[in-house]
Symmetry: C2
Subunit: 121 residues, 2 copies
């Protein structure tokens, strides 16, 4: 059997909660994740992995200590390892993420949003 296609929109349609990424694939020891987000997340950084964001629908601000980036549909931003950031979505936004296998969503920070054991869908 050839490798499976990952239908991102179908994966996102299977859940509705915010800030709770699901694993949808693996690439070279990194988890491909999808999430729905809304509101202000936790300030955090990932000590040992870059983190890739891609906006699938809606818009996402990623705040850094020295400025803000505003991402719209189709935009990508790679947060380098160790760089503090905080995602903020005014309205619900759907995103695709790439993180090293097993990395908690809040990196080295702990908050009510922390998910260290993610579901695979």
């Amino acid at each position: 059997m050839p490798p499976q296609i990952i239908h991102i929109a179908e994966k996102l349609a299977t859940f509705s909660d915010h800030w709770n990424p699901r694993i949808v694939g693996d690439y070279n020891g990194n988890e491909l994740r999808v999430a729905k987000v809304k509101g202000e997340f936790t300030w955090h950084s990932h000590a040992d992995t870059d983190e890739m964001f891609m906006v699938v629908s809606g818009a996402l601000d990623i705040e850094f200590r020295d400025g803000i980036r505003h991402l719209e549909n189709g935009d990508i931003l790679v947060v380098p390892k160790g760089v503090e950031h905080r995602p903020v979505a005014r309205e619900e936004c759907e995103i695709l993420l790439l993180d090293r296998d097993g990395e908690p969503n809040t990196g080295g920070a702990l908050s009510e949003y922390t998910r260290s054991k993610l579901e695979t869908i």
Copy 2:
């Protein structure tokens, strides 16, 4: 300065040739690439890296020795390392790719399509 946003559509608008990926970013030692493709590519595999495909516009078939997968807009497929495959696009298709840094586009195969030194845009 915060990390730069990668505007995929803008990057793709800067060139028109086929099967010649450009590097647009880096994630954990892997190159984020964009390409325009049309026609039949070379059968090949990548011995030391998975390869992620995402269709940005159009449609792409990825042929495997044991079947074909048909990807449409927004679909993702990860080709595991070592697995032979051949991308085929009936009409022009725009894709996002992820490959280990420096990996030639035809992996261990050589053809008229081989690009081993990619431009960063």
